[in-house]
């Protein structure tokens, strides 16, 4: 992908020398799991749960139903890299290289302008975590999991691992064994966090694996928008990112979770994201995948309470060497629940996208409404797109719909735009941006501009 790779290199792919305060030996072992527990000074129930998860990971076969994962080199991957002693609340207290990294990525600036709180993860740990004072005063909690274990053990223990247990899948097991970094968020009843909270994930080291863990609990009637972004330098060897996100949306709450996944093209991105939506709660996953070598990610909402609503918007842009297997899952366990899954994918320059969707309606979940729509755009003959929707409906009084389109950019469309002075790359980028419009208008302005620029970088072959 020549041009666009260079653009990525300049804007996101820079790297600084690694100066971790601790780094584990490469490979997977009980010893390293224990080492992590020890460094973090964890309670026994956590270190035990890690070991149980490791055991499960070892026993569980690699999933073979999706993209090829056989080349992941676990033996030569570093599973824990601690960059600093502790997370700070002041950017100036960070080591210069780390501070410079986040400066270049524009995180402190975004924080000043429009964010309610920021967590910044570098390799295996959060190095910065801060929330605006007025929110802290209202009881909003936004800390890394290590702090949460110590300061808020009751609420953490109650929910941790309940939405995504380590037995869920092989990579959830791996995360549960090695998790480090991420966020714990608690929004008290009826508190509305007006500006987004954001976590940014950066993998600086080569050949590493990042396993952040995010747990969001939105108490009754509260509202929050959480955003995450990620990038990494370009290395010739592959890295692994296997995050787990658990959301508990208690009755009447509204949680929106926006992801802008922009890993470099040497990262395996295998993420489990799931939410419980209780009575009348709304959960929205807004999930964009532009980067990574292989992504497998199907954000899920389990509607456990009457009247709960799920909105999943998943977009993917796959270029040369990328295989983005994404989608969404809506599980209706209660009556009068509603779900909408919208997928938009673009493949170009030999890239591959695949939509995988699941809509499940349990017996007794009456008057369910669900609609799935997936649109794919294929920019050339080298690229691919697939659709694998799955329906499992065990109730009669439901309305479940599915529609799918696959399109190519027509010669006439390109001619129309080029006749107005746009060159072919600009015209293509414009059509692709228009195709993603449904997604872009869900983003805060600053991110919308950024997203459109990313598309231009990727699609424009300069």
């Amino acid at each position: 992908m020549g041009g666009s790779m260079n653009d990525y290199a300049k804007k996101f792919g820079f790297k600084f020398a690694e100066r971790p305060v601790h780094q584990s030996e490469p490979g997977i072992s009980k010893k390293i799991v224990n080492e992590i527990s020890e460094i973090k000074g964890e309670q026994k129930w956590i270190s035990d749960s890690r070991l149980k998860a490791l055991e499960h990971f070892t026993k569980r076969p690699m999933p073979t139903w999706g993209p090829d994962l056989s080349e992941i080199d676990f033996d030569n991957t570093i599973f824990y890299n601690k960059p600093t002693d502790k997370a700070v609340q002041n950017w100036d207290e960070l080591p210069t290289d780390i501070r410079k990294t986040f400066d270049k990525l524009g995180i402190p600036e975004a924080e000043r302008k429009f964010l309610a709180g920021v967590g910044a993860q570098y390799n295996s740990e959060m190095v910065y975590h801060k929330i605006k004072e007025d929110l802290a005063k209202q009881g909003v909690i936004f800390v890394d999991p290590d702090t949460a274990f110590k300061k808020y053990p009751d609420i953490f223990k109650k929910w941790f691992g309940t939405v995504v247990p380590h037995t869920d899948n092989k990579f959830a097991a791996l995360n549960s064994a090695f998790f480090s970094g991420g966020s714990f968020i608690y929004i008290p009843p009826n508190v509305e966090v007006k500006m987004p909270l954001q976590a940014y994930f950066r993998m600086n080291a080569e050949n590493m694996a990042q396993f952040e863990r995010t747990l969001i609990i939105a108490d009754k009637g509260s509202k929050v928008h959480f955003m995450e972004g990620c990038t990494a330098p370009i290395y010739s060897k592959d890295s692994l990112h296997a995050g787990v996100v658990e959301i508990i949306a208690l009755p009447g709450s509204h949680v929106r979770y926006t992801t802008m996944q922009n890993w470099s093209n040497n990262v395996y991105n295998l993420v489990t994201k799931r939410a419980y939506a209780f009575e009348d709660a709304i959960v929205e996953w807004i999930d964009a995948n532009i980067g990574s070598k292989i992504s497998m990610k199907y954000p899920c909402v389990v509607m456990k309470g009457k009247g709960a609503r799920a909105d999943i918007l998943s977009v993917a842009l796959a270029g040369n060497g990328q295989n983005l297997d994404t989608g969404g899952k809506a599980i209706h366990l209660a009556p009068n629940t509603t779900s909408r899954i919208v997928s938009k994918s673009v493949s170009h320059d030999g890239g591959k996208t695949n939509f995988r969707g699941l809509v499940k309606v349990k017996k007794g979940a009456t008057d369910v409404k669900s609609h799935t729509k997936c649109d794919a755009l294929i920019l050339d003959n080298k690229s691919f797109s697939g659709t694998i929707p799955q329906l499992d409906v065990n109730e009669d009084s439901v309305s479940v719909g599915h529609e799918a389109t696959v399109g190519r950019i027509g010669e006439d469309q390109l001619f129309y735009l080029t006749s107005r002075g746009l060159n072919e790359d600009e015209a293509t980028a414009m059509i692709v941006n228009g195709f993603f419009e449904t997604f872009v208008k869900e983003l805060p302005t600053e991110y919308a501009v950024e997203f459109n620029r990313l598309i231009q970088l990727q699609v424009g072959r300069i």
Binding site: F415, T418, R420, L422, G434, E437
Partner: protein, 244 residues
């Protein structure tokens, strides 16, 4: 400033559709091309603008002294050539405003700010009696036939090219829309000195525009050239009397 078509032959999918057209349109002039269905009028328009499907097998297109026969459409546009489409394409999710801004920026080097440009576009829109909300709609997305025609003319008056080929800007429009379209073509012709090459089936738009020349295209060739009186004659007698 002149657009010169010299002995132009065009084939599409191997089929000859334009068979030796000679034509010269200077800035400020208004030319009309009429002719029966399938005579090659749209093919000629596409070929002049550089549609990749319309292959020029012989002849040349000269624009402002440059041989643009091999130029890409965007290069032709940058020199000041414009094509108003008979069937404009839908570009889903791209607003009219965003599109006009992008096109304007790629064609013009002036330093109009985003706000000035928006103001400029909005003035042109009121000139075409278009509702303000139009600017926020997806380009040609769900537009009625008349709205599509107006949107093409909006692009013409915003981009102010040196020479504009307008492929049936009047077809399928009601009387009021037709009048608006004609007025705006005339204004860009008079105020900006834009040369117009108008493809039409109807004499009505020509009543407003008063072309300097009327050409009749029959079977890929210009069979006759005259003044506005030629259009009158075609209206009453049809194309049958014109020899190909």
């Amino acid at each position: 400033m002149k657009l010169e078509i010299k002995n132009l032959h065009v084939a599409v999918d191997g089929k000859k559709v334009v068979k030796g057209v000679n034509l010269a349109v200077s800035e400020g002039e208004v030319h009309a091309i009429m002719g029966p269905n399938g005579a090659g009028k749209s093919s000629l328009s596409y070929a002049i603008m550089g549609h990749p499907k319309y292959k020029i097998t012989k002849g040349k297109i000269i624009f402002d002294g440059h041989d643009i026969t091999e130029f890409s459409p965007d290069k032709r546009a940058k020199l000041g050539l414009f094509l108003g489409f008979q069937h404009p394409l839908e570009i889903s999710g791209v607003s009219v405003n965003n599109f006009l801004r992008t096109a304007y920026r790629s064609l013009k080097s002036d330093s109009m700010s985003i706000l000035e440009l928006r103001e400029f576009v909005s003035k042109k829109m009121s000139q075409l009696k278009m509702d303000k909300s139009f600017a926020g709609r997806g380009l040609n997305e769900g537009f009625s036939g008349g709205e599509k025609k107006l949107a093409e003319i909006l692009q013409l008056v915003v981009l102010q090219p040196k020479i504009a080929i307008l492929d049936e800007p009047d077809s399928g429009t009601d009387v009021d829309t037709l009048k608006l379209i004609a007025q705006n073509i005339k204004s860009v012709n008079k105020k900006n000195n834009t040369g117009i090459l108008l493809v039409t089936h109807h004499n009505r738009i020509l009543k407003y525009l008063k072309p300097d020349f009327v050409h009749v295209l029959v079977d890929g060739k210009i069979a006759k050239t005259g003044g506005p009186e030629l259009a009158d004659k075609l209206e009453s007698k049809g194309y049958g009397w014109v020899e190909a």
